[in-house]
Subunit: 709 residues, 2 copies
């Protein structure tokens, strides 16, 4: 791969309708160019898979040397196929791909998958070849998957144009999960893990070089598909932001959970990703902000992703975060309580009457929550019935039950099941995790009741925490993005502090009552008008760091203003003789409050994002900064502020009065609207500090860095 | 269980030699009181297990109603057994336990396990019964395991006095792992998970109510055992601190990893634990400090604990944190790099020459590190050999290899193995994780080469991070604890600020040059002597919060001191008329620096601990506080300081000069020595603030709270 090559060029892609992916996922006829009689070879596997899966459409192996392939009549060329084809699979050397694609176009193909490697990922020549095939595809209205990918499958119709070994052992269990993976190899790893976990993957697609079709488009397809209820995504880079945002918005509107594992989180990982995919990385925090905005979940590990897909494919989403715990081991109850706190779930106590009822039946039990029925119930499962029934009656949003290997026993297992179902009145109508042991058949028997099974209690609880987050994201009210301020546009060159603040003021962000003085006398007049100790600052577009040249003085009494102003002009002239001086800014000393740093910057991948932090050590030492997509509503800005580690300072920590977070959120929202209205028109917008007072806010300083070109 | 009952009373326990546990873990003869002919019953399982495991010693089932039990001659009573017995197992109702114990004592038993429940965990009557059996045991020199426990096993000799279902399916695979679990039920869960993971548990013990033998004693036994190389621990509470510290120290000295899962980490979990075990919880941070001090690892989840035990049972410990990554999937390489950063492992690039060599053989590879050989090597495994060999030559401390399901293929798997071994020169001499897929036999075949196998890349890397932490703990130089300051003892009543600081000064902690003045004139004289602006403070043992009564003034010029002192005395007399006034403290204004809060307090479980934090928002808002056992050496104090989230402030963040962290560490160490020398003689010792200057430190204020009784 060339050091600066681009496997997935971050290009402006034409917007294509989702329906254009129908011939990819659900064709009626498939031609396999480079078909092999050997079912273990790349050109042979797709035919073997299609035959085993019972592909309902027409299958046309193309191979000039054979009459039939794996029992199917073969054709010497694409041209020889007697019928039109919807879909073509190309498993031939790179050099032959352009002509083959033209041949397929002549037969009416509307989608093609190219397994072949040797395109953008191998350097200049490959890049050119990739551009050529993309041009052919676009000229003929063919949607292209790959090149350099492992293909896809749609289990519902037995459509398996892939050579992944992830379905070699068996097709996935029937289910309603869609999986989109940029990496074919890691996709295969995931497919194997998903099958072992009994997660029913109905559609899977690996997008490879993404010459045409991108992972976000495939997410969009699945979000719109009647056959898919939840979507797992493995990503290495994003080259198609608009499609990603459309897809995530559509999935949320359809209440379909999207769980994303994006690698390159760490610095060293991002470097490795850049050398692997040559995608523009963007910042990981911006990517996470995008997922959060659209209610999608980020999974950090493969198992976490599969746990969430597993849980969401078996369970309804919970109505809240209240967890009831039923256990036969006190220790497991404690462990579960630990995990619940970490996952943000609460364990409210059972009502007194319910506790009394449980203890009446089972004096050795702990009845609060966790409810520990103790191993003594092995002799009397009616105690499990009563405890389960009391928990159910209390209306917890979720239940976790720990019965270790009881489930694996042919004697105890059925008794336990009967007792739990009796306690539940036969109805598993909320997320219910059985934390237990047994082989796949044991686990599946509980899943058929609508229960999740986990062996590790912590994983069960974290998966339920994810379900709660999904429910909250789907149920959150739609936020109206703030409107762009009318008549305010970002400058094309650097503004002085005063001009920048006045622009912010026109955008609705409060600034101090300041006067621009051009002489020491004018400064003295302005101070006299204010009648209070003043701030004096030099105004120059050339001096972003005013303090260093003696360009800032605080607490200047009006009577001393003229002298102070004169001294400042002399100091600046001495220290920065070439700076253009526009004048002196005189304003009142600001009151007490908490200082925020609020900025907007352009993320190369995710577009304009907001950075919001407390001033001082919080931003500089602790990196305690919220990153959010711009624009964001005041409510979203408020949530970001309250998510800061130092948020307590805003609410009156350390004996201080609470400050006006609502006004701060308004100002942040307005700045974000300014950034979003002209997303490519700036490098950064910064208010530092934004003083948040007990009532109201003031942008005490501002810097607008225009777009560099 | 009674609401305030105590299953494991936190009592002062007599120190017993480890050898006293030999009859428990390795008896020559075993009597089973309450033996059952039914191998599924509690009194029948231990016999069935012993027979299956081939217990080499003598086995005496005791049952008045049977001639033989499960093919073994039975005895009508303990007295009827013709030989002395080492060990007795009691599976009989609680009421019969005292007499049975006496009978066993008469036969020479030196250890007994009591399965029976109905003791301390059920309330007053049970507590009395537990006290009675403990008295009998102590009177006759019997070590007692339980009551209310699931027993233990020692697989090496087929000694299985347990009714856990965790060895029902099979005895554990042979290995050198010891497992100590306070909970029998969770211990069983762990045993099942460990077996599925092919972790060889040789000895397991569940300690139940811990009337006599405690979990820490069992850890100590295993630390001393020639048959155990590493120890896993599941804990709910600690009632035997000295034994825990001895055991952990012994394990570290023997370089035996100890991995501890202690539940009750969270607030709600700690509450649940309190109602479950009624152990004194102590603070979780103190427990963690103890583990850290002794180089033991804390696992947060069951899987994390098993991952570490698994890794440490297969791998040597690494020499450092440098990880080499070999992968057939670029995406997996990025994922691994992400996990490595999180686990604190570094991925240094291969030397240029090695990269060149890899690319010469395999132009499509990425050769930096991760080394991505790409799936192309399926056609030519010599490329795997050369890449592996180059990685080996670079001398990484650990290797992670990702080959997904290639291992599961009967064709590809053997080729891959041959290539890797060739590249390694046949020698797996450092931690090597195969991240791959396949059934248990596939995984075991790689383990036999000395490689770990993992399916989830993140778990593999985190386990290797744990190996690195263990190696560092074992290799760390022994720290000499600071000596108690000679001639300084903690007071039995509250001291004034000045007296407290003078005590600290005698313990070697620098304090400002202050004078105690008894009149305004004396204050003025002291100020004149200093000749600089001064601090003036009221001195009273009754006024811990001086500011609130007007008892602190800063920056007082010498000429204004007399007036200031008079005003202060008036203000205090007005605001706190009953306070005993010892005088006025006059000292120099302190210089620039960073303020720390340093305290010692008594943890009810872990003894004296130090709390160390930065002042202001760091402690109050961010709870950024290090907790360490007292005493700690200056090096340990320095490590604690550098572990603070805000540590950058000490090293010159925000344009300030670095401060004298070494002097701060000395002062902390000295305070810790004071606390450790009289661990029960105080409630808290606090220096707030300890001013750390560019050179030196000063304890600006101090509070010593004597022990309440």
């Amino acid at each position: 791969m060339p050091a600066d090559g681009e496997t997935r060029p971050p290009q402006t892609r034409p917007l294509q309708p989702l329906a254009s992916l129908a011939p990819l996922f659900a064709p009626r006829s498939v031609a396999v160019i480079g078909a092999s009689a050997d079912p273990s070879r790349i050109g042979g596997r797709p035919i073997a898979y299609a035959l085993r899966a019972g592909f309902a459409g027409a299958l046309y192996p193309v191979n000039p040397n054979r009459e039939e392939i794996q029992g199917v009549k073969a054709w010497p060329s694409v041209a020889a196929i007697p019928e039109p084809i919807d879909f073509a699979l190309l498993a031939i050397p790179a050099a032959g791909v352009p002509q083959a694609l033209r041949d397929c176009a002549a037969k009416g193909a509307k989608a093609a998958v190219i397994f072949t490697a040797g395109f953008a990922e191998v350097g200049e020549a490959g890049l050119a070849l990739q551009a050529e095939i993309l041009e052919i595809a676009r000229a003929h209205g063919i949607r292209l998957l790959g090149p350099n990918c492992l293909g896809l499958f749609n289990a519902a119709i037995g459509h398996c144009p892939t050579f992944t070994s992830g379905i070699e052992a068996a097709m996935p269990v029937p289910g309603r999960v869609g999986l989109v993976t940029q990496s074919g190899a890691y996709g295969t790893h995931l497919l194997n893990m998903a099958r072992d976990r009994r997660i029913g993957v109905r559609q899977w697609v690996s997008t490879g070089n993404e010459a045409d079709i991108t992972a976000p488009e495939c997410i969009g397809w699945m979000a719109a598909s009647d056959e898919i209820d939840l979507i797992g995504v493995y990503m290495e880079g994003v080259n198609d932001r608009p499609a990603l945002f459309r897809a995530l918005a559509a999935a949320r509107a359809a209440r379909k959970p999207v769980v994303v594992m994006k690698v390159g989180r760490s610095e060293v990982g991002a470097q490795a990703a850049a050398s692997h995919t040559a995608s523009l990385a963007g910042s990981d925090a911006s990517f996470e902000a995008a997922l959060r905005r659209f209610g999608a979940l980020r999974a950090k590990t493969t198992e976490e992703m599969l746990d969430i897909l597993y849980a969401a494919s078996l369970s309804p989403l919970p109505k809240g975060r209240r967890l009831g715990v039923l256990t036969a081991s006190g220790g497991a109850g404690v462990l579960i309580a630990d995990a619940a706190e970490e996952a943000g779930l609460s364990l409210p106590a059972l009502p007194e009457a319910a506790q009394t009822a449980i203890l009446a039946a089972n004096p050795l039990a702990s009845a609060r929550n966790p409810v520990d029925v103790t191993a003594g119930v092995l002799n009397d499962f009616s105690k499990v019935i009563s405890a389960t029934s009391e928990l159910r009656g209390a209306g917890y949003d979720m239940t976790a039950a720990f019965f270790t290997s009881w489930t694996a026993s042919p004697v105890v297992g059925p008794k336990l099941r009967e007792a739990l179902l009796a306690g539940l009145d036969g109805d598993v109508d909320h997320p219910f995790a059985m934390i237990c042991q047994g082989d796949a058949e044991v686990m599946a028997s509980w899943e058929r009741l609508g229960m999740m099974t986990f062996e590790d209690p912590s994983r069960a609880i974290h998966a339920m925490g994810a379900l709660a987050r999904l429910a909250e994201a789907f149920d959150a009210p739609e936020e109206t993005p703030p409107e762009a301020p009318a008549g305010v546009s970002l400058p094309r060159e650097t503004l002085s502090e005063l001009a920048a603040k006045r622009l912010l003021a026109r955008a609705g962000i409060p600034i101090p009552d300041e006067t621009l003085a051009t002489t020491p006398q004018e400064a003295a007049d302005a101070a006299a008008r204010l009648g209070t100790p003043c701030v004096l600052k030099i105004v120059s577009p050339d001096l972003p760091h005013k303090t260093e040249v003696g360009g800032v003085r605080l607490n200047v009494p009006p009577l001393e203003m003229e002298t102070a102003a004169r001294e400042m002009l002399e100091s600046v002239a001495r220290n920065a003789p070439h700076a253009r001086i526009e004048g002196l800014l005189v304003g009142p000393m600001a009151g007490e409050g908490v200082e925020l740093i609020v900025g907007a910057r352009r993320d190369p991948v995710m577009g304009p994002v907001m950075l919001i932090g407390l001033g001082g050590v919080f931003t500089e030492v602790l990196k305690d900064v919220a990153v959010e997509l711009a624009p964001l509503s005041p409510a979203q800005a408020l949530a970001a502020l309250n998510g800061l580690r130092g948020a307590a300072l805003l609410h009156g920590a350390r004996g201080k009065a609470p400050v006006d977070v609502q006004a701060a959120a308004e100002a942040i929202s307005r700045l974000s609207a300014l950034a979003a209205a002209d997303p490519d028109g700036f490098e950064s917008l910064e208010i530092n500090p934004l003083l948040v007072m007990p009532e109201g806010v003031l942008a005490l300083d501002a810097l607008i860095e225009p777009r560099k070109e």
